[in-house]
Subunit: 199 residues, 2 copies
């Protein structure tokens, strides 16, 4: 069984990574990773489907044991991605996309070096600013904060494998699919191919 790829998609606010990810999953089959959380299940939510609902203690133990690929806190609850969850998907041969920010991406690469890191960018900084302002939903302070944060995020750029500019959603999604297909052909992922060829 050939392993699937773990694709990490990062990008500054306004890069459109949510939309790109959703177009990608329409174009091709990708595995879906169920996040873990410490918050209580809401009505209609199923454990193992919507989230893995676990205790605060259990979540913190997983952090200490390095079992969380990435995590964050919101309203006093933890949310994160368990390494075992991701591993199960790729071992089953399916490709999986994680949409996470730069620090989380670095952690994924450290724990799972075969991961493919893609940085999604707006065409340029001026266009990013136009897009953030164009939403018309955020305060000037929040927009300034997001633009400022982009400088910090771009410091991680050289540690990514690929950069894709989001000029147009479909073209951008197709470029990412090309990366997925190309990475499946990488010789480093076919270490035993020469031996197997003659079998």
């Amino acid at each position: 069984m050939e392993k699937g790829l773990l694709i990490v998609l990062s990008g500054p606010s306004g890069s459109g990574k949510g939309t790109v990810r959703s177009v990608l999953t329409e174009m091709e089959d990708f595995a879906f990773s169920v996040s873990a959380t410490t918050r209580a299940p809401r009505a209609g939510e199923t454990d193992g489907v919507d989230y893995h609902f676990i205790t605060h203690e259990s979540f913190e133990e997983k952090i200490r044991n390095g079992e969380m690929l990435e995590y964050t806190t919101y309203n006093g609850n933890y949310y994160g991605t368990e390494f075992s969850e991701v591993l199960a998907a790729v071992e089953s041969g399916r490709n999986l996309i994680l949409e996470i920010e730069v620090e989380g991406a670095m952690n994924v690469k450290r724990i799972y070096p075969e991961a493919v890191l893609i940085m999604l960018l707006p065409p340029d900084f001026a266009e990013q600013e136009r897009r953030l302002r164009g939403r018309g939903t955020e305060s000037e302070e929040i927009i300034r904060g997001r633009l400022e944060r982009t400088h910090a995020e771009m410091k991680y750029f050289p540690r990514y494998d690929y950069v894709v500019y989001n000029r147009e959603i479909d073209a951008c999604a197709k470029e990412i699919l090309s990366i997925v297909h190309a990475e499946k052909c990488a010789v480093k992922r076919h270490a035993d191919a020469a031996k197997r060829y003659f079998e």
Copy 2:
């Protein structure tokens, strides 16, 4: 001006690299490299279009100076690819495919490390043998020699960047196009992207 890619396509006899290359050039625009030769022009052949017709002395001087990316002899004449020819194409922004054997490919990678090396393979060795015999045009001795040579060629496999199995021509050509598109997005080819983003 973003540089084009130099794609090196190698593969054992029966891998179908000639056909794949011709399908590729129908699917997308690739630059064409004019070879150099020491043989005399035939009627209707134009210097600089069909070949660069150069003298025996000049060809050997280019070999000594490391100006030939790869070369071979046939019927007492030299045939080869000049580095300057390839460089002119990629500097102009166009992608170029060279279809050359493994030793030549190693030489290309040494001279031009940005080159992308793709090994094209039949699905397996048994299928390669079926294809070679299926042609019905070569002697048993020649077929044996070609199959034997594959073992030597595969020793270079780990030094290639990608492996593509030629199960079906169109799917195979599309995989190679994915590699071309993905490599254009490689962060290593966008060293100044972070700086340029904020300009």
